[in-house]
């Protein structure tokens, strides 16, 4: 019989057993015993105190997305737990492995409306892979092991551990056993060779194939397998927002970015191709537009690890269930070497149109106010396309996704499914903490910046070297864009009277500069990138800029506005 230790210490030891090195969090009444134990483990965990629990969850997400390990976040019960909900929901939508450990009132007080009691398990069931209440110290190691297994296996996602205070204090023996199986949960479905064959037959017959690359490729570390497949079968490919950086920007078969504000080529070709191969993507409505007119001419091959994604939005001719790393490998072996030069060349016409009508104006303007796209492009170049891009949500996000370039995987961290404004600053913190040797560039708007700007305090406290580029147009730009296009320019609730952002950064001791003129941009960017310290670069951009190309919501994918 081993010695009995407190539940809080069992938690610390369990986290160590899962190779946790970083914890984001915020203390409170129902989680004090855990923070007390953490005090003794300061040498083994890097602990980041955020300024709000939402920030702690997004930081843990940023960490998880940059590193590829589950992000850990510890918060208190009640408001601490409810503040974490947005991050949990975001992680569910974007398949991010996130483990939220929340304090809970003592078991005997449950259900009595005790101080800071909230039914966290009940609230989070729809937005987690697993949500569990730990009520006894004996259960902690088991629950943590299961949490890590579930959060990080198969299609990853968030797990909540609702940790009753008495279980944090009570003592139990500690024995840790990693979880590698739970019946009824099949994270890695056995691959059906028949499905591979059927898919390969369709691909081998294709004259005009197009591949759609989703985050599934990154989550299963299948970047090489993806490129081997595309090269062998000579298939042009484009990425979803979350799939960006699975292929380097200059990979010859990379035809860009899909969806509402994506590149014209792949969107037009979606409705021309004869075979559409979707890899680890879920046919989100921001990718497909109107499903009734989406790729109706094509045979659809859908590779996914999650059976509930197959046939959910688009009916597939061939479904391949399994982990992309394995299925792509098998599919490549079953696919004949092919050449589709003419088809691939046919993208050029669209690329030229887009360059002339959209990109040139956005990225290389000669006069007028500063454009968001040109700022993104300059910073991408200044970082040799090697930085991690973090974005907030809105015009800043789309401009960054469109004009930042990537040379390595896991280089884009953005809130895709939930579209969470305020995601940017904390997510950038998490990414930089997780991957300190890479430059982390955050593009954020004036709206999203003010949703979580209290996290500048976190940046100050731990001197986290994120480079924040605030694209300030004094508008909630994306909503304003929709109001301009579809609501007769009635700018209801989108005009922002903003504070002095430079003064705010200074108050936090963060180096800063504000740029109004194009000719000052290069010097300011160089100043920002001269060292690895935090920096806020405020760029006052065109106030009524538009993100083009744009397919209006619910419209046919080929119905593209170019301004």
């Amino acid at each position: 019989m081993s010695e009995k230790i407190s539940g809080s210490e069992i938690l610390m030891k369990s986290l160590l057993a899962e190779n946790v090195d970083t914890i984001f969090g915020y203390p409170g009444g129902s989680i004090i015993p855990v923070f007390d134990a953490l005090y003794d483990y300061q040498d083994r965990f890097k602990y980041i105190l955020t300024r709000h629990e939402q920030g702690a969850t997004h930081a843990a997400q940023g960490y998880a997305r940059a590193v590829g390990k589950p992000g850990i976040c510890i918060v208190t019960s009640g408001p601490g737990a409810t503040n974490a909900i947005t991050g949990i929901g975001d992680a569910m939508m974007d398949s991010t492995p996130l483990i939220v450990i929340a304090g809970q009132v003592q078991t005997r007080m449950l259900g009595t409306d005790a101080f800071q009691e909230i039914d966290l398990v009940g609230i989070t069931q729809p937005i987690t892979k697993w949500s569990y209440q730990i009520r006894r110290a004996e259960d902690i190691a088991w629950a943590v092991a299961r949490a890590f297994y579930i959060a990080n296996s198969g299609r990853p996602g968030p797990v909540v551990l609702d940790f009753a205070k008495n279980a944090q204090i009570e003592k139990a023996e500690f024995e840790y056993k990693k979880c590698i199986f739970t019946r009824g949960y099949i994270p890695y479905p056995v691959i059906n060779e028949k499905q591979i064959e059927t898919a390969a037959d369709i691909i081998n017959e294709a004259k005009k194939p197009l591949a759609l690359v989703g985050q599934g490729v990154i989550l299963s570390n299948a970047e090489k397998e993806l490129m081997d497949f595309l090269e062998k079968a000579d298939i042009p490919a484009a990425s979803t927002l979350l799939g960006l950086s699975a292929m380097p920007s200059d990979f010859p078969l990379n035809k860009g970015f899909l969806g509402m504000h994506g590149n014209i080529g792949p969107n037009m070709k979606t409705n021309e191709c004869d075979v559409l191969i979707a890899i680890g993507m879920r046919f989100d409505d921001r990718v497909t537009g109107n499903l009734a007119t989406y790729a109706k001419q094509a045979k659809v091959v859908h590779l996914d690890i999650d059976p509930s994604e197959l046939d959910k939005n688009v009916k597939a001719t061939a479904k391949v269930l399994g982990d992309a790393k394995q299925t792509l490998k098998l599919l490549t072996a079953a696919t004949k070497k092919a050449s589709h030069k003419e088809w691939i060349d046919s993208f050029k016409e669209h690329e030229q149109t887009e360059y002339k009508k959209v990109i040139q104006k956005e990225v290389f303007p000669e006069n007028g106010p500063i454009k968001m796209g040109e700022v993104v492009n300059l910073i991408s170049e200044a970082t040799h396309n090697q930085a991690i891009l973090v974005t907030d949500v809105g015009q800043n996000q789309i401009m960054a996704a469109r004009y930042f370039k990537y040379t390595q995987t896991r280089s884009v961290i953005t809130s895709g499914g939930l579209g969470t404004m305020g995601f940017g600053i904390p997510a950038a913190i998490g990414a930089k903490v997780g991957v300190p040797n890479r430059t982390v560039c955050l593009f954020v708007g004036d709206g999203g910046f003010q949703m979580t700007m209290q996290e500048l305090g976190t940046i100050m406290q731990d001197c986290i070297g994120v480079k924040i580029i605030l694209l300030n147009n004094n508008f909630l730009g994306m909503v304003r864009q929709w109001q301009e296009l579809f609501f007769n320019k009635r700018y209801s609730s989108t005009i922002m009277k903003n504070p002095d952002f430079v003064a705010i950064a200074k108050a936090y001791g963060i180096s800063t500069q504000c740029v109004d003129k194009r000719e000052d941009l290069d010097a300011a960017i160089a100043d920002m990138l001269k060292d690895d310290k935090p920096y806020l670069l405020v760029v006052n951009t065109e106030s009524e800029g538009m993100v083009y190309p744009m397919t209006p919501a619910g419209d046919t994918v080929t119905n593209i506005l170019i301004g």
Binding site: Q125, P126, K129, E138, D139, W142, T182, R183, G184, I186
Partner: protein, 194 residues
């Protein structure tokens, strides 16, 4: 009712017997604005595994997606759906009638024979009938009783159903799942602390 073009489907779910499982299932219906018509939950033939039988009106496409999303939950062991043609199913209903009203009817023999009624209780204030059958049958008796006497209380259970076709037995299904368990891994399947 929004039941145009929709059919009644029976969803059968096997799950771990854990706190909060029912909520995990019902929220998937709630999300799509689907109404649960009947619901029955009970322990299955195997210890620690619960069986849910849910009926709901849906189209074929939607019910398939819903069942996949239920099946995806970690603590759900298996979920599937059937239409009435594939099933033997039954509901049970109880009817409470005032004894004096019933006596005023004169003979009840023909009604009892026609509807196959069982009498569960009879005292000076009330009589309790039991009828098992399909919804139409239990409703038929309710309608007839309502025409003749006042039904003081009426309760109908959720549907229980058994598949007519050859279907994998639960124990075989579990054996298959357990085949995926890594060798030598002896995780205790029972949750602690409940």
């Amino acid at each position: 009712m929004e039941n145009d073009n929709k059919k009644l489907y029976t969803v059968t779910i096997f799950s771990e017997n854990k706190v909060g499982l029912l909520n995990q299932i019902t929220i998937i219906f709630t999300r799509r604005g689907m109404n649960i018509e009947t619901l029955s939950v009970s322990p299955s033939a195997l210890k620690g595994i619960h069986k849910f039988t849910i009926t709901t009106y849906s189209d074929a496409d939607t019910i398939e997606k819903v069942v996949k999303q239920i099946d995806k939950r970690v603590d759900i062991i298996k979920s599937f759906f059937n239409t009435d043609e594939d099933l033997v199913y039954q509901e049970i209903a109880l009817y409470k009638i005032a004894t004096d009203q019933l006596l005023q009817l004169g003979s009840v023999e023909s009604m009892i024979r026609t509807y196959n009624i069982r009498i569960l209780e009879m005292n000076e204030t009330c009589v309790v009938f039991e009828k098992t059958g399909h919804y139409e049958e239990t409703q038929g008796l309710f309608d007839e009783l309502s025409r003749k006497v006042k039904v003081l209380q009426f309760i109908r259970s959720g549907r229980v159903a058994i598949n007519k076709s050859k279907i994998e037995r639960l124990s075989d299904m579990l054996a298959k799942l357990n085949e995926q368990k890594p060798e030598g891994y002896d995780e205790d399947e029972e949750y602690f602390g409940l």
